[in-house]
């Protein structure tokens, strides 16, 4: 039978762990660096877009991680939080939001860099672009909201409510803008027919997805550990 750890013991355990190297995070960074090398040196350029196409290996995986991993995890753990009231879920949502903000920022900066030479414009109010921009605004708002509430339980409930409403909102924004014409390239890999990409590029593309998911996992775990430590210290000080 194991006794529940006292707060002091938890704090010691977390402090001890944070002194160890974070191998998951290191692997994530190494994997992303390796994908860069492969994408720049060992993958042929695309026929019409030339070198500009290579930004795809950063842009698409970041978008995937931001929208379908970070934001989805934020919404799901918020929903579970409102049901279970477990602080761990709130810390997970918080960590995922902050890391997701970083990935969304990458999407929003690499997109225009590609758009300028290919579309001839930095920005256009296309459905995906607009939805991503507002996702970015909402995650920022979410983090500011968290910052503006002192009481921990209230902060967790309010931010969970906001995350859930945001999960309902993003499809609406996407749909509304879709009523205007859309200009964003259609999916070329995840579609019903076979991927229309030469195998060499496809391998780089898939490797990039794996590397970015790994980096995301490493960052979220590090951020989550920080949140745990911060809350434990706050509890310790409150006593």
């Amino acid at each position: 039978m194991t006794l529940p750890l006292t707060r002091r013991e938890q704090l010691d355990a977390v402090t001890h762990r944070s002194a160890q190297p974070d191998w998951l995070l290191i692997t994530g960074f190494v994997a992303v660096a390796a994908v860069y090398v492969r994408a720049l040196a060992f993958t042929p350029p695309e026929a019409t877009q030339g070198a500009a196409q290579r930004i795809l290996y950063v842009h698409a995986p970041s978008a995937f991680v931001a929208l379908y991993v970070a934001f989805a995890l934020m919404a799901v753990s918020s929903l579970l939080y409102l049901g279970l009231k477990d602080e761990k879920l709130d810390r997970l949502a918080e960590s995922s939001a902050e890391v997701g903000l970083a990935f969304t920022t990458v999407v929003l900066t690499t997109g225009p860099l590609w758009g300028k030479p290919i579309w001839g414009t930095w920005w256009t109010w296309d459905a995906r672009l607009t939805a991503t921009l507002f996702l970015w605004f909402i995650i920022l708002g979410y983090l500011v909201l968290r910052d503006a509430i002192e009481e921990r339980g209230m902060r967790a409930r309010y931010s969970a409510v906001l995350a859930l409403l945001a999960a309902l909102l993003i499809p609406f924004i996407h749909l509304s803008v879709y009523l205007f014409r859309t200009m964003h390239p259609m999916p070329i890999v995840a579609k019903p027919s076979a991927p229309s990409m030469p195998p060499n590029m496809l391998i780089t593309f898939i490797a990039a997805f794996c590397a970015f998911v790994l980096l995301y996992a490493g960052l979220v775990r590090a951020r989550y550990r920080y949140a745990t430590l911060r809350d434990l210290v706050a509890d310790e000080e409150a006593r």
Partner: protein, 223 residues
């Protein structure tokens, strides 16, 4: 529950009717907005009829925020919220009552601003007055559903006045787009059927967010 909601709404409207400060500040804000927007464009280059839908919906959104700010702000004084919560009514009923009062507030502002816009911008609306009112009502419902919930959250935070617009405005994007899009179609003399996709978005938004915000409201209260 509907009876309880109506009581909450009537209480809020009675407070508003006796002071009238929020209503008149929102109304004057909206009217000032109309005139300022007119001079923000070159009237000889852009026809007023092209500006009007955008101006109308931006102004409704912002003046609506002024009213929403007040909604839970009035419950802060003397911790009136505690009295409301200890009353034997469902928490969902409090939300619906608050939202209803806010809806009437926004409609009240629209009822003056819309004719003023027609007058100032010289719009031909005689044929489209009914569909236009329907759009205004649908948009107001969506605006208020989300805004009321965020108002109850924002008052409990530091910098409530800044947080309410920051949280609400992203949610107003589909409303403003759909309302302005359909208004533009109607003012251009297009058949109502062309505005239909936009109207469907408005209706869907209203239904989804009334349900979601009613369910979420109890979580924003102290336990």
């Amino acid at each position: 529950m509907l009876r309880a909601s109506w009581l909450v709404a009537r209480k809020d409207l009675a407070i508003e009717f006796r002071t009238r400060t929020a209503y008149f500040s929102a109304l004057i804000f909206a009217l000032l907005g109309l005139t300022i927007f007119y001079f923000a464009w070159d009237a000889t280059a852009v026809a007023a009829i092209d500006l009007a839908p955008g101006v109308l919906w931006v102004i409704f959104t912002f003046s609506g925020l002024l009213g929403l700010q007040r909604s839970f702000g009035v419950e802060q004084a003397d911790r009136a919220m505690d009295a409301l919560l200890s009353a034997p009514v469902d928490r969902e009923a409090i939300y619906l009552g608050k939202a209803l009062a806010n809806l009437l507030f926004v409609i009240g502002v629209q009822a003056i601003t819309l004719p003023a816009l027609v007058l100032f911008y010289n719009l031909p609306i005689a044929d489209v007055i009914l569909p236009l009112s329907a759009i205004a009502l649908l948009a107001a419902i969506g605006l208020v559903a989300v805004g009321t919930l965020f108002s109850s959250m924002a008052v409990n935070t530091r910098m409530a006045e800044l947080l309410l617009p920051m949280l609400s405005l992203p949610f107003f994007v589909p409303i403003v787009m759909a309302a302005a899009g359909s208004t533009a179609k109607l003012l251009a003399g297009r058949p109502v059927a062309e505005a239909w996709p936009w109207l469907r978005i408005l209706v869907a938004f209203d239904i989804v967010f009334i349900v979601a915000c009613t369910l979420a409201f109890p979580f924003t209260l102290e336990e």
